[in-house]
């Protein structure tokens, strides 16, 4: 049986991304002076999980970087090293590198190898610098190895040096010297003298120091994947614990899902067989957690699995309960026969302090590797959830939409029957109406995600940017649990990032300027999300300098915009959304190129939203983004023209009124205007634009709907207002083409199609029609 590993890659990528995101947010929350042990543990676990799974799936480059990252994190969480701010930066950088490497594996551009090497070097150097004195390390190592009798252990070191290492004759002797400083070194096998040290080396080192300390040195000179360190408690077991590559000598109870094979005192007697099998299989990765309960069966099964496995990957986690251990050999044996099978043995999270202990025996059949791989993060405290394709959810939403329409149709039929409808039919229909409404609500909520998905990236943006700009900024988040449609979540991220960057760059002053103005040198950016009616409102506020009216006006004149001093503040502020407008005194790489704010507004408008600015000089600026809750449903007002019904998006309707004959005037006998509370608004006559025979004979018999699109107001003349509905937006372009003045279609309660009007386009059409007239 052969299993295609690539089918699990997608899961791996998604999980790794989640782990990276979790790591980043945790890093940003860390209090550098007094890091919370739990947080450090969580960061370590995230790195550890990535390392484990990337090793499993053969992404050795990822595993290498995470290994180095993990080594330093491990020191931190064991309080062997104090946390410093530059470490956090290095960790964040490493996270970025890992992200780019992941993207490379997913088919994107490959990660820059120089950046990878630079981060590795930086982390290694920090690990090295942070390395405690030997005297301090020894007791620490001893403490870790509680339960073991001998602190001095023998390690078999096997490696093939890189070409680079063999080029320089001094490198290998230096390695040997270095290893001798750790303890007693014996050269078991080495290449012939004449071959310039190239070839297979086999060293044996007896030391009391943990393997992680000298493992790096061996890794440095060896071909990647071509080195191995094996350890045993005593020389009599010196072959025990054969593990390939990634190896953790610290055998304290690993609190993570992916265990690494450390030496297991209980299983030691049987382990040599395993080790030899491992040695024979150069592509076998074995990750074992310590087995605390001596169980003679397990090692046999494990070694059996390894002996037969060609490219097998075996995960054996800690088995604190004999019962679970007893069940294990069966599946392990199966795997052994399969040759290329996978055995994922889900960890018992008993050692994980924060995870709820699972009562279920964690033995998962070998044919369900995906499930057990999934179980790992679940054990790490994630709430129960399933991953479903968006298209499936969308299909569900569409189907429910159909159901709602059908239900409305039935209800209408029953109403038409009036008293003729049997009582039970009417009752059933009422029940159906309630059920479909509930169903629709719950289905819609599947697509809803808390806005924290977007907000969570901003602490990092602010952290990086404020450091680069030399500003001190605190980011405050409010209303992160506010939910909105997934489609909007994805599309709002970029505009919001830009607004925040803008606030940071233009809004918040330098600490000196703030101090001079009598403000707290630390600026504040507030990000707030809330529901307001059928909208979601997101505010980006800062307590910076505020917008400068004079400067904006001056700049606008310079850029050739039509401005005058009588413009209202609101109009002046709106200028910054014009294309090619930027008031930054100097162009930085953050902002100031004059692209951006116009794109921000365009993006938000394309989502059916709008953005407003409030600003007070010296006190700050607040940008408010208003968005509809979802892209699929629209609050609409239906209007009748002739025999047709059209839907107007409620967001663009301000009011409606029945015009008096004297309110409607003409300009140059072409443009008609209507006076609404002193203002003259252009009149758009819908039946003229759409060439429909109207029912209303004159303006006084119809209704004027005052519309607002992008700040332009106009009055739309229709025959009558019909009602207000929530409509499901359907595409007209799937089977037809774009229609001028129409943004989409929807299906009304009676099953008929109604077209949704595109208000900005209508206003534009009215303008051109009048020009042509």
């Amino acid at each position: 049986m052969s299993i295609d590993m690539s089918q699990f890659h997608q899961v791996f990528f998604e999980e790794s991304e989640e782990h990276l995101a979790a790591m980043e947010s945790l890093l940003l929350e860390l209090d550098i002076a007094q890091p919370d042990a739990e947080q450090l543990n969580a960061i370590f676990r995230a790195a550890h999980s990535i390392k484990g799974s990337s090793g499993t799936f053969g992404f050795t480059d990822l595993a290498e970087v995470t290994h180095i990252l993990e080594t330093l994190l491990d020191r931190l969480r064991k309080h062997e090293t104090a946390l410093r701010a530059d470490m956090v930066d290095a960790f964040l950088e490493a996270g970025d590198v890992l992200k780019s490497m992941l993207a490379g594996h997913r088919g994107g551009p490959a990660a820059d190898p120089q950046a990878v090497a630079a981060v590795c070097a930086r982390l290694r150097q920090m690990t090295g610098v942070a390395a405690p004195e030997p005297s301090a390390a020894a007791p620490a190592a001893e403490a870790e190895e509680a339960g073991e009798t001998a602190a001095v252990r023998a390690y078999d070191i096997e490696f093939v040096p890189t070409l680079h290492a063999t080029d320089d004759p001094a490198i290998l002797p230096r390695l040997l010297d270095e290893l001798r400083t750790y303890g007693e070194l014996e050269v078991v096998a080495r290449p012939p003298e004449g071959s310039a040290c190239a070839g297979f080396w086999h060293l044996r080192l007896r030391t009391e120091r943990p393997q992680a300390e000298f493992g790096e040195a061996v890794d440095f000179v060896s071909e990647s994947d071509a080195w191995r360190i094996r350890a045993s408690v005593d020389t009599s077991f010196e072959d025990a614990g054969g593990a390939f590559g990634l190896f953790d000598a610290a055998p304290e109870g690993e609190d993570d899902s992916f265990g690494f094979f450390t030496d297991a005192p209980g299983s030691a007697p049987a382990a040599p067989a395993d080790a030899r099998a491992g040695a024979a299989e150069d592509e076998g990765y074995g990750f074992f957690d310590p087995v605390q309960v001596p169980d003679p069966v397990l090692p046999v099964a494990a070694s059996g699995a390894f002996a037969v496995e060609g490219e097998g990957f075996g995960f054996f986690a800690a088995l604190p309960e004999p019962a679970a251990a007893a069940a294990l050999p069966v599946s392990a044996g199966e795997k052994g026969e399969e040759g290329e099978g996978f055995g994922f043995f889900a960890p018992l999270p008993a050692a994980a302090p924060e995870a709820a202990p699972e009562p279920v025996a964690p033995v998962v059949p070998a044919d369900a590797p995906k499930r057990s791989a999934r179980a790992a993060p679940a054990a790490a405290g994630e709430s129960a959830s399933i991953r479903v394709g968006v298209e499936k959810v969308d299909q569900l939403i569409n189907l429910v939409g159909e159901l709602v329409i059908t239900q409305a149709m039935l209800l209408q039929c029953a109403e038409r029957m009036q008293d003729a409808a049997p009582e039970r039919l009417r009752q059933g229909l009422t029940q159906l109406e309630r059920n479909t409404r509930d169903l629709q609500e719950s289905v819609m909520s599947i697509r809803m995600l808390p806005i924290s998905f977007v907000f969570s990236r901003f602490p990092r943006v602010v952290h990086d940017l404020s450091a680069r700009l030399g500003k001190q900024v605190e980011l405050k988040l409010h209303g992160e649990t506010t939910e909105l449609d997934k489609g909007l979540i994805e599309r709002i991220a970029d505009p919001l990032t830009h607004l925040i960057r803008n606030s940071l760059d233009h809004g918040i002053e330098s600490p000196e300027a703030r101090a001079a103005a009598g403000k707290n040198p630390v600026g504040t950016i507030t990000l707030r999300a809330a529901h307001q009616g059928g909208n979601i409102v997101i505010e980006v506020g800062d307590d910076g300098a505020g917008l400068n009216r004079q400067r904006i006006l001056a700049k606008a004149r310079e850029r050739g915009f039509q401005v005058n001093d009588q413009m209202s503040d609101q109009e002046v502020w709106a200028l910054i959304f014009e294309a090619g407008f930027s008031t930054a005194e100097q162009v930085t790489d953050v902002s100031g190129r004059g692209v951006g704010m116009d794109v921000v507004r365009k993006n938000i408008q394309s989502m059916g939203g709008r953005v407003e600015i409030e600003s007070l000089t010296g006190a700050g600026t607040r940008m408010t983004v208003r968005l509809p809750l979802t892209l699929a449903i629209l609050d609409g007002m239906s209007v009748a023209v002739g025999s047709q019904t059209y839907i107007l998006p409620l967001s663009s309707v301000i009011e409606s009124l029945q015009p008096l004959a004297e309110d409607v005037k003409t300009l140059a006998n072409q443009t008609r205007v209507i006076r609404v509370r002193g203002d003259y608004l252009p009149v758009i006559v819908l039946h003229e634009i759409f060439n429909i025979a109207p029912l209303a004979a004159g303006f006084t018999q119809g209704i004027m709907v005052i519309l607002d699109a992008d700040g332009t107001k106009a009055a739309l003349f229709v025959d009558a207002l019909v009602g207000q509905h929530q409509v499901v937006i359907k595409s007209l372009e799937n089977n037809y083409r774009r229609v001028a003045g129409v943004s989409g279609a929807t299906i009304m309660g009676d099953g008929h199609v109604a077209l949704i009007l595109d208000v900005p386009a209508l206003i534009g059409m009215a303008k051109t029609a009048q020009l042509a007239a």
């Binding site: 569409n398 939409g401 159909e402 329409i405 025999s643 047709q644 634009i689 759409f690 060439n691 429909i692 359907k730 595409s731 007209l732 372009e733 799937n734 089977n735 037809y736 083409r737 774009r738 229609v739 001028a740 003045g741 129409v742 279609a745 299906i747 099953g751 008929h752 199609v753 109604a754 077209l755």
Partner: protein, 167 residues
């Protein structure tokens, strides 16, 4: 050689494979279209008008949640009278990932045609209605006009698509 013979044989065999065609009438003319392009046939219901569309585009209907445009071929080809009775039928076509409704006078039957039966149409000028004709079939006294309906519906002439296939 053997290979060449085989392919020649296969081609001949292919010639013998008959396809099913749906025939419908427009005025006095009888048309045949590939039945695999037909999704369903349903009765006519008044569609929702689309503003400023050409007269043969009757509008859009709701086909179980999908918005489907409806064209009246009688108006397009100026054949017969565009009357809508309870017997007026709409052929729902599935062409080029699009669903389009087509109003015709009546649907006659489904027939089996061998490629050899389809005779080339006389070469008129490249006028609209002959451009999409695959050929003519004589069936007793009837003459069937075999039409490439996919080509026709996605063409610029029909004004149904933004990016016409023959643009």
């Amino acid at each position: 050689m053997a290979n060449a013979n085989q392919t020649a044989g296969a081609a001949q065999e292919e010639e013998q494979v008959a396809s099913e065609y749906l025939t419908f009438t427009l005025g006095d003319e009888e048309y045949a279209i590939d039945i695999l392009k037909v999704q369903e046939i349903r009765g006519y219901e008044p569609p929702t008008m689309i503003a400023n569309a050409p007269p043969f585009i009757k509008g859009v209907i709701n086909l179980r949640g999908t918005i489907v445009p409806v064209v009246d071929m009688r108006i397009k080809f100026a054949l017969g009278k565009a009357e809508y009775t309870p017997f007026t039928v709409v052929i729902i076509l599935n062409v080029g990932k699009r669903v389009i409704g087509m109003v015709v006078d009546s649907v006659s039957d489904v027939i089996l045609l061998f490629p050899a039966q389809i005779r080339p149409a006389p070469d008129f000028s490249a006028s609209f209605d002959t451009k999409y004709i695959l050929g003519l079939v004589a069936l007793e006294q009837r003459m069937l006009i075999v039409t490439d309906i996919a080509q026709l519906m996605t063409s610029r002439d029909m004004e149904l698509v933004d990016e016409a296939a023959d643009a």
